[in-house]
Point group: C2
Chain length 671, copies 2
Amino acid sequence: MTNEKSQNRWLWYPGDFEIRHGLLQNFQREERGFDWPAYWYMDDCHRNVKFKRYYFLDHPSMFKVTIQGVGYVEINGEKHPSGKWLTCPAGKVKIRIFVGHTSGLPAMFIEGDEIKSDIGWTASNFIEEYPAGWSPLYVDIAKDPNQIYYQKECVHPVTEREVNGGVLFDFGRAVNGCVELMSLDDPIESITLCYGESDVEAMDIEYCYYKQIGMTRKMKARKRAFRYLFIPEVSTGMVQLQVFHEFLSLSKQATFSSDSSLLDQIWSVSEETFKLCSDLFFIDGIKRDRWIWSGDAYQSFMINQYLFFDEEINKRTIFALRGQNEIKQHMNTIVDYSILWLIGIENHYMMTKDREFLRIVYPKMQSLMRYLMEQTNELGFIYGREKDWIFIDWSEMDKEGTLAAEQVLLLKAYHSMITCGDILAETYGEAEIYPTDLYQEKYQVLKQNLFDYFWDEELGAFIDCYESGKRNVTRHANIFAVLFDFANKEQQQSILKNVLLNDTITQITTPYFKFYEQDALCKLGQTEIVYQTILDYWGGMLSHDAVTFWEEYDPTQTGNEKYSMYGDPYGKSLCHAWGASPIYLLGRYFIGLYPTKPGYEEFMIQPNLDSFETLNCTLPIKDGMISLEKTEDKIVITSDRTGGTVKMNGKSYPLLAKQPLVLTSHSIINA
Amino acid sequence: MTNEKSQNRWLWYPGDFEIRHGLLQNFQREERGFDWPAYWYMDDCHRNVKFKRYYFLDHPSMFKVTIQGVGYVEINGEKHPSGKWLTCPAGKVKIRIFVGHTSGLPAMFIEGDEIKSDIGWTASNFIEEYPAGWSPLYVDIAKDPNQIYYQKECVHPVTEREVNGGVLFDFGRAVNGCVELMSLDDPIESITLCYGESDVEAMDIEYCYYKQIGMTRKMKARKRAFRYLFIPEVSTGMVQLQVFHEFLSLSKQATFSSDSSLLDQIWSVSEETFKLCSDLFFIDGIKRDRWIWSGDAYQSFMINQYLFFDEEINKRTIFALRGQNEIKQHMNTIVDYSILWLIGIENHYMMTKDREFLRIVYPKMQSLMRYLMEQTNELGFIYGREKDWIFIDWSEMDKEGTLAAEQVLLLKAYHSMITCGDILAETYGEAEIYPTDLYQEKYQVLKQNLFDYFWDEELGAFIDCYESGKRNVTRHANIFAVLFDFANKEQQQSILKNVLLNDTITQITTPYFKFYEQDALCKLGQTEIVYQTILDYWGGMLSHDAVTFWEEYDPTQTGNEKYSMYGDPYGKSLCHAWGASPIYLLGRYFIGLYPTKPGYEEFMIQPNLDSFETLNCTLPIKDGMISLEKTEDKIVITSDRTGGTVKMNGKSYPLLAKQPLVLTSHSIINA
């Protein structure tokens, strides 16, 4: 329904909804009694917007404009109030709607038969004009786009037990929502509510992250994430709570069921983890930051592609991260996060073939790339400006000069600029608006210099930094070079042997970079290693009763120290988006699905299922689903759409729409 | 009290308070049932701000931070909640306060003996750091800087009479405030309230600007400006209203009393007009736009200097007009208004010698000048970009090419950049931050080309435009050239004769430009003409029962058409800031007071009082007042400060502090 172009919807200046709610999201962090708004420059939506459309009417037509904010309606230059039915005369009509909002998102909705807020309106910030922005979440006039309308699910504790002189509730799952105190036995006037992702945290009255003191009957606490609730100084039955978990529903969903119940559980907990971290935007985790981080989002895009295939959350996250046109600093202050944002858009385009979105976001890609290029030296290498954070990873790295990993990212970003620019130039025939010559030139120079300066032939690997003379090798640049196809076959094998499978090279310690590493290992054919890693690392968390996957897991930590991170005993997020990476790895490399043309116009399925006895799964593709069933003697693959090719044992088979392709060890049968 | 540096006050990122309230101001326009937010790009304040200060404490010290928004307090890197008393340890301490506000101004106030929100804090938007902003209006913790605390004055109608089947209330003055319906005779349930600056407007139920329909008992209408209220379908005594006029108090005030009661009334009505248009910012008028227009503000600065000498309203207006760093379009979309903003700051500096303010605003001057220079051609002439409004005035003008008047303004703006930059370089010894070489170069080139291309030796005047070949002369460029001292004595006389006193040159029709014309005429010694103009033009409005001065006055319009403007029967604002220009003209040229060094460190009084039999007036100067009393046989001038010089009949006399200087036709006596 919402894809129908003639469906009424709320309209705004494109990007504004996302920027506004991104601000609200990034100001929601709470910790031990204080609020912790994000510590970087945050944009807000525009304060006034002008909507415009021309109509050619055969006869007069009535319409009513509802706005969020203040403003008026102009029909052929004549002003009228909003909120009233107006009659538009026949003939050529110019309608403009001016909306200002001093404390929220200016938006408008039009009811009418012919004149209505469907696709076709432009929105201007008085400087630039674009097709108006909208969201399928806001097609109902009663839904103010300044609010988020979460679905609510009443959840109940699975256990309630007395401990440490109080009561501990375990909900047996991660909950993100509000707790309401329904009743309280006399003579207690109020209680203290302590939250925890772990029972240890909840019972640490002094130092748990969230705590609500002086909670009285009927009082509702603000939205928080937890699995456990602890109420000191009460006994069981004295307190009645009502808890609603809040969530937004997502698109179609993958399914997965194999012979390994452990793997199935890993999939299922990954799915739960990722669902929880998929709010209006991809957030890092649900308890601690709740911030939109570009590096985390980049990985979430990859998981989303194999789980929900929800294009809307990708777009919302992309807009929110970038903010308004002017660039004041790097995304989340991190240079590599700005670069990943650019690369992520190419990924999103490959996934969706959404040229309309690309067209709106490309100017913001151009300006960000300009900002990046301004901090490159005569060799084309990017360096940090004052206050820039050259992150890459928390690992030790030789940073005494420009860094290889950043250059590899930048190189890929030039590639993304070229790909996206060329698509727009071709689609819209406006080559002068989307020139890519400069990027091509920069790409060539950078690629040459990257290898000349950073590739160490003797070590058979990229070194961190050439200026220091230390020739230090870490995994990061090498991983990126594999992932982005900048290493040739020979170099790839060299990287595999000398870096990835070389235990003397410092191990990756963060799950963030572990994601890239597993990705690269799979890409280089090491799916067996990765299969085992999934079972060990993610399975290890399950052995600790995890109901969601953690920000980080160290199997050697078995006591309460496993909940600590960043020097804080409960600093570790126990429900963290990147924890869901098995979904991506399984979908991308084991089932082996990926688009070879934008929007899966053509796509490949290249199964690597030696580790599986049986498997039954469905995965989303653009406008469709594919299913794969492995049994003892055969693999059956079905797609509800054309465009697929299956590749196995060096042979390719076309996958026709709705016609199961049956592969046995020796034959191929189109059933 | 508020000037004491150790006084606690609300702090914010400098400019943010003004930008935020400027937005609110420019969204307050209301017209015939709809809101009319300003139609240009409007900035808002920052959404998150970081305050910082180092202390060196002999002993531990307590403090409590109150914030507007959400955030926390950091003491030596450790986070604490706001709203609680915290103890800071002795020694060197770094305190940072993070405040985010999603829908208003982030601000903070600190109570404490040693640690408090006085002068000494910096504020950062995570990109730039400046001394924190504050206002003497917000030194009380109970006053949220997101609110404006108006003083209120209960006002009563001077007449209440039945007419046209209803009741017309005349308040005998312009009121800007809220009307509350106190009581209503049965059986009437509700009334309609019609407002008017004129009785004609109020009684025009259909077409008056403001109308409140369905007003019931105890209901309070939004703030509006009016002199008359009309309530249809009631009789006298049936309706009880309560009306509060709202205003902000201003600084010290000039007084004026002469032998001419007409002139005294003109002064007094000018004063009333200007008071009403001096809200938190200088607004154009109180009924219609209520917007902050840069051209109008420029003239208000000049009037303010001679009436209130309120430095704060100048600064607030300057910040609000300019907005945040990034320039998206010209001020109010008008190129000349951007230029006048620059020139206005030089004026403000001459008036106040406020180097701290200059230091904070100068980067925004630099970026605006950069924006202007980007639209100059190879001759240095400024032209309009697409969508730019090259205004100057509503007059007919030859605009087929770059325009003389814009060039004269730009030339003066270079002068302002040089003056202000040099002052800062000298004061703060940071010449590299305030380079003026480029402006000097541009100034020289533009000055040369202005005369080469636009000065028509034969016509003895500047022509509008040289590209058209029409050699059309209007008054505008010529007036600016006189005001900004770009014409030499000979050229000045030529302009006076060939343009200003030449009736074949199209007359100025707008009071906006009439202000500049009177200024120029006075400057060229034509005070007698101007004296008569004041009596005729302003006196003419008084003959129409004006209680405030109008946006425009045409003596030939005697019927209701006198209230019309912009094609609207009540489109004319009857209380318009620039209507108060007699105050400036009388102070600057008749009393003859002006600073010759910044902040009136040295100032001149050069009376031109031939038209006055007697005069008794006081005028403000920086940190002082001067008074002048003319009687039959002498003029007595007193200043409560040093720095003055009196010039009369070609002779100069030093004016000592608190020592009346007595001038008779033949002698000078220091009394």
